[in-house]
């Protein structure tokens, strides 16, 4: 027998209580894994945007369009090598609740600026040649069982009606956070169907020198400052980060929930260990009589506590990892959503900390226990 065997035996002394405690820790760490993954996914999404591309949108907000005439003036700005633009479409396929992103793009200039969109099925040229053609992410192909060459009908929202698109290519993102569930189609198609009521939602500009991004952005905004459509220009990464903040202070909310859960579980685990020590007062006294030192007995209690929290933490984090592996319903809202190795590492670290803190008071109790009084109480 080893000291480890003694800890293990004590752990299963009251199987129901241990199981319930481990289960509550498991649920808490599953929640931690899921909530933390929302933050890491949002952080990763904010990093997706390139520092070598600028986004020019209306100074009044992303929902206000800009005149197409801005394009030629933007192209003339020193440091800009390519100009393209895009619009949000906001349609849906069959079910309004079944969300995925659709963008109307100025395709001939947009695609060369986005190496992240790697065509892995179909033909980009076929897409460029056909006005009603679309490129879709492989995630959408898989989700809806679509195939390249198939015509699909979306329902428009702010431009109501049936919108038919022929899938001519599918892409696989080079970065998972870019998302594989987007749809791109021709801006010209949107423009024609809207009878010319549509203009670019935002411009994307390729920089020849990312180090000059701030200067060029300031130059552009100064250029349109006194126009009818003033602009706000920033790097695509900053633009993405701003877009992420439209989720509200989700990070704060998630952290607040996580902290509350942590403390709730801390009290559960501490209570369990205190009950366990209280039950074993006589046995602790016997071990002291035999010659076990206070430090060793405290270590036994703390290790038992850590074992409970790490066991629960590992199961909870493992379950979260498995549940959010591959395609999940959350992937549509958070491309690349998954439990990262960093989250698992942080979670296990917290589980150890939780075990140490929740075991501290019972450990102190066992160290301070008077053998004579404890034996008298048992007798």
């Amino acid at each position: 027998m080893s000291v480890g065997r003694l800890i293990w035996a004590n752990l299963f002394r009251n199987k129901k209580r241990t199981f319930l405690t481990v289960a509550s820790v498991t649920v808490a760490f599953f929640l931690f894994g899921a909530l933390r993954s929302v933050i890491t996914t949002l952080d990763a999404a904010a990093e997706v945007g390139s520092e070598a591309r600028l986004v020019t949108s209306s100074a009044s907000g992303i929902t206000f369009p800009l005149p197409e005439a801005h394009a030629s003036r933007l192209a003339a700005v020193s440091g800009i090598t390519r100009v393209s633009w895009a619009n949000w479409f906001g349609g849906y396929y069959r079910d309004p609740q079944d969300f995925f992103a659709q963008f109307a793009i100025k395709a001939d200039t947009y695609l060369p600026m986005y190496p992240e969109i790697e065509i892995t099925a179909g033909d980009a040229d076929a897409f460029l040649r056909e006005r009603t053609a679309a490129i879709v992410g492989v995630g959408l192909l898989e989700k809806y069982g679509w195939q390249v060459g198939q015509t699909v009908t979306l329902q428009g929202t702010f431009l109501p009606g049936d919108w038919e698109f022929t899938i001519r290519a599918a892409y696989t993102p080079t970065n998972p956070s870019f998302g594989d569930a987007n749809m791109y189609f021709h801006y010209e198609y949107l423009y024609e169907r809207s009878n010319g009521q549509i203009s670019p939602g935002w411009f994307v500009l390729q920089l020849n020198d990312p180090d000059r991004a701030a200067d060029v952005a300031a130059q552009i905004d100064a250029l349109f400052e006194n126009s009818t459509a003033p602009t706000k220009t920033e790097t695509e990464r900053a633009f993405q980060a701003g877009f992420i903040t439209m989720w509200g202070n989700i990070g704060f909310l998630v952290r607040a929930i996580g902290t509350a859960v942590f403390f709730a579980i801390l009290f559960v685990a501490a209570n369990t260990m205190m009950m366990a020590v209280r039950e074993r007062i006589g046995e602790i006294a016997v071990l002291k009589t035999i010659g076990f030192k206070n430090g060793m007995l405290s270590a036994l209690v703390v290790l038992e506590s850590v074992l409970i929290t790490v066991l629960g933490g590992a199961v909870g984090l493992g379950a979260a990892k498995l549940m959010f592996m591959g395609k999940t319903p959350l992937s549509a809202f958070f491309p690349g959503f998954g439990v990262t190795t960093g989250t698992i590492g942080l979670g296990l670290g917290l589980a150890v900390l939780l075990g140490l803190v929740s075991g501290a008071i019972p450990a102190l109790q066992s160290a301070r226990l008077s053998v004579v009084n404890a034996l008298r109480r048992v007798a």
Binding site: L6, N10, E283, I290, V372
Partner: protein, 241 residues
């Protein structure tokens, strides 16, 4: 309670070698209960020779268990000294006492106090976890101790699967497994029927006569005390023979 004082020197008998193993001098202990000071005993002197089997009798509250606890290094004296095998334990701190106990004391409890989650063999092995003995040697020591108490066939049984007498025999095996300097028993037959109690007393006699173990046993039972080589009485803090 008045201020009692007492002196008891056990004469060498039976397997005793004549060498004084335990030397208690001017031992004083009092408890404070609220504003009242309760003197348990005062200026107690006692010599126990190596190889002696002594019984300590006395009514409840007479101080015999307190004396036993101080001798085991579990309780502290207010005054006086306790020297065991040349080491004055009353000068030791808690940490030193824990180490000293693991080497020198084998304690037998009235209520066996076995750990219910461990088998008989694992319970017996507990004191050896504090030594540097390798697993194989620990196992050999455990089986030897269980053989002495006649329980090798119950080594893998849990306490709940054993009778009271068997549990106490496991408790004795645990007390002797590390070959301590002295065995202290706090009413080791107090929770047993007379047949089981007799078995335990025979075992203690055997440990004393065959293995030369020094034993001090606190008991209420005159029949149990008769099995020891000598009986001391403690009453109102006064120790007498």
């Amino acid at each position: 309670m008045s201020s009692p004082s007492s002196e008891a020197t056990a004469a060498p008998t039976g397997g005793a070698s004549g060498r004084v193993l335990v030397e208690i001098r001017n031992l004083t202990k009092a408890y404070r209960r609220g504003s009242e000071v309760i003197h348990v005993f005062e200026n107690v002197d006692l010599d126990i020779r190596e190889g002696e089997f002594l019984a300590l009798m006395g009514p409840s509250g007479s101080g015999k268990s307190t004396l036993l606890n101080i001798l085991a290094g579990l309780d502290t004296a207010d005054q006086g000294s306790v020297t065991v095998d040349g080491q004055e334990i009353t000068r030791m701190n808690a940490k030193q006492l824990a180490v000293w106990r693991s080497v020198n004391i084998g304690f037998i409890f009235q209520f066996y106090n076995l750990l219910p989650v461990l088998t008989a063999a694992q319970n017996v092995e507990l004191p050896l976890l504090l030594t540097n003995l390798p697993k194989k040697q620990r196992r050999e020591h455990v089986m030897t101790a269980l053989e002495v108490v006649g329980l090798t066939d119950r080594a893998q049984h849990f306490p709940r699967q054993l009778s009271g007498g068997q549990q106490q025999r496991v408790g004795i095996a645990r007390a002797i497994v590390s070959d301590p300097t002295i065995i202290l028993g706090d009413e080791p037959t107090g929770d047993l029927d007379s047949a089981s109690g007799n078995e335990i007393l025979s075992l203690l006699e055997q440990l004393n006569s065959q293995f030369g173990k020094t034993i001090l046993m606190v008991t209420h039972d005159p029949h149990a005390a008769e099995r020891a080589q000598a009986t001391m009485h403690m009453d109102k803090g006064v120790l007498s023979r």
